[in-house]
């Protein structure tokens, strides 16, 4: 029970201090909106292509929402030493880091549904497999958040967190099949696409909208789950090695 109280209050504090601040809420809405508009302006097509665009826009919204927020907030708290207060609390490091990431995960999930909500006003999203979409969005949010955590515990300055985030994010956007189908990428880039969690998340969202996909949902879920575990484990190892000197 004590652990649950600590977990809940860390999450609540982060939501109030960071994620529910008006600039972040408006960013969470404007960012997917801007990406959606960009796709349509670029392609010159109408709402009939909305279904095709949605998986990518939702995935990017999650990726940017989670990695930006978490990498910066954790680095900021570490720099300001308030993270030490958390390390001094009698809660396990696993629970502590999960509590710190839970806010970003929820923020990512909320971001993902903005483009879906907007699209629902203009096009018919049916058929839509909620059973695939919901866990896909959640796993994508978890893996992106843990990527943000991995970045946060690998740097010491806030500006480094921003730069390091982009080092991962931009190659992911271009290689995950969002702009170009993976099969159309040069042969030497195709294996790279499979190294990124975003690729599997986009693929799952395509499944949920019953669009052509590359892999089976089981493989996508399995690989995304593996990414989550590996990123979290590596981040914890880094915290133990770098922060508890």
């Amino acid at each position: 029970m004590r652990q649950a109280i600590a977990f809940w209050n860390i999450l609540l504090k982060d939501m109030r201090a960071y994620y529910l601040k008006p600039p972040n809420v408006s960013w969470g809405i404007l960012f997917p909106l801007a990406w959606t508009a960009m796709f349509f302006i670029k392609s010159g097509s109408g709402p009939e292509r909305w279904r095709e665009v949605l998986p990518g826009v939702a995935a990017i919204s999650i990726l940017f929402g989670t990695t930006s927020m978490l990498a910066v907030t954790v680095t900021f708290e570490k720099k300001g030493r308030s993270f030490e207060r958390l390390l001094l609390a009698p809660i396990s490091l696993e629970l502590l880091m999960f509590a710190k990431t839970a806010g970003a995960i929820l923020f990512g999930v909320a971001n993902a549904f903005v483009p879906f909500a907007i699209a629902a006003f203009f096009v018919d999203l049916v058929p839509f497999a909620w059973g695939t979409a919901l866990p896909a969005v959640l796993l994508l949010a978890v893996s992106s958040t843990f990527l943000g955590l991995f970045i946060a515990v690998s740097v010491s300055e806030v500006f480094e967190a921003q730069t390091f985030s982009n080092f991962f994010r931009f190659p992911m956007i271009f290689l995950c099949g969002l702009f170009f189908p993976i099969a159309h990428l040069p042969w030497f880039l195709q294996p790279l696409a499979y190294l990124f969690p975003l690729t599997y998340g986009v693929d799952l969202l395509r499944h949920s909208l019953q669009l052509p996909a590359m892999l089976s949902p089981a493989v996508d879920f399995g690989v995304l789950g593996l990414f989550c575990w590996a990123l979290f484990a590596f981040s914890l190892r880094n915290v133990r090695r770098r922060w508890i000197l």
Binding site: I5, G80, A89, P90, L245
Partner: protein, 327 residues
């Protein structure tokens, strides 16, 4: 000494090539105020970090109430309240919210933590600032709230790292009073400081630490014992006296002379010191006596003798520098 609540055995810690702690051992008894006195870089904060779980020792053992907690500090952290040398509360939260959050980290339920937070805010004279953001607090208020935050879960052991450094005299006095009160209520206090007077005023036992080594650990009375019946003076002179120490010792064999930094010297004798002949002797050597201060036997003298570090130099280390000054 009653049973140790904290026991450190041969704690050693290296940061890269720097030996920060070298086989540091001591015990802290239940209910005492234990002072850790030393200059900057002596290893005081490193010791606190090891004892609270913010760092891991390279060698040595840590025991709380007889149970070894080395490498598994989470078992002990419920017993500990920690006040770091710099505030680590959340600037965007109010005083009340900060205390509530700290209580929640130790699993306190909402109502008890709100009651406890209000009780502490009142005790620390911060009830008027309960709803203000922490970022708007003065330095003294921040330090008081940091101590209150450490006491939220009623820990039996409180660690304080330089609690009065850099704050105004009134706040420092108030904090010392509060610490004495906490200790009367049964809280064991581990206090690091470079203010010798603070250690002397508050602590029952004191450890002198310098360059990562413990030089002596003893009760305050035991430390002061050799100074009983001694007569001491400190002279401020017109120039350095190092080259005249031999002559002075020969002329006044009953008095021990020691040169201090800043054109000063210290005189120590078992009998009262007649200042006139010494002043005349120095004048004949071309040295003018600008000031003579009779020294009360204090911990400062013991500290200087044991560590070889001048108390004044140590005091200056952490005082805020004037704006535009250089380090």
């Amino acid at each position: 000494m009653s049973s140790p609540v904290i026991r450190a055995e041969d704690l050693t810690k290296r940061y890269g090539g720097v030996l920060a702690l070298d086989r540091v051992s001591f015990e802290v008894a239940e209910g005492e105020i234990f002072g850790f006195l030393g200059p900057n870089g002596a290893g005081k904060t490193t010791t606190i970090n090891l004892l609270t779980g913010l760092a891991r020792p390279d060698a040595g053992r840590i025991l709380y109430r007889g149970e070894e907690t080395t490498g598994r500090m989470k078992r002990a952290q419920r017993l500990l309240g920690v006040v770091p040398d710099e505030s680590n509360l959340y600037p965007e939260l109010t005083g009340l919210e900060n205390l509530g959050f700290c209580g929640a980290l130790y699993g306190m339920r909402k109502r008890p933590r709100e009651e406890r937070a209000r009780e502490l805010l009142q005790l620390f004279g911060l009830e008027g600032a309960a709803g203000r953001r922490f970022s708007g607090y003065s330095k003294g208020m921040k330090r008081r709230l940091a101590i209150a935050a450490a006491l939220m879960h009623r820990p039996p052991i409180l660690f304080l790292d330089e609690p009065t450094t850099g704050i105004d005299v009134e706040s420092a006095r108030r904090i010392r009073g509060l610490l004495a009160e906490m200790n009367r209520e049964g809280v064991t206090i581990f206090l690091t400081t470079h203010y010798i007077e603070e250690a002397e005023r508050l602590c029952r036992r004191i450890a002198f630490i310098a360059a990562g080594r413990i030089l002596r650990v003893d009760f305050l009375e035991e430390l002061l014992e050799p100074l009983k019946g001694k007569h001491m003076l400190r002279l401020t002179l017109s120039r350095e006296i190092d080259d005249r120490l031999g002559e002075l010792s020969r002329a006044f064999p009953a008095i021990a002379f020691a040169a201090l930094a800043g054109k000063r010297c210290r005189l120590e004798s078992a009998a009262p010191v007649a200042l006139g002949p010494i002043v005349r002797f120095l004048e004949e050597c071309g040295i003018e006596v600008l000031e003579a201060v009779r020294l009360r036997p204090s911990l400062e003298e013991v500290f200087v003798e044991i560590t070889g570090i001048e108390a004044e130099a140590m005091r200056r280390e952490r005082e805020p520098r004037p704006a535009g000054g250089t380090a």
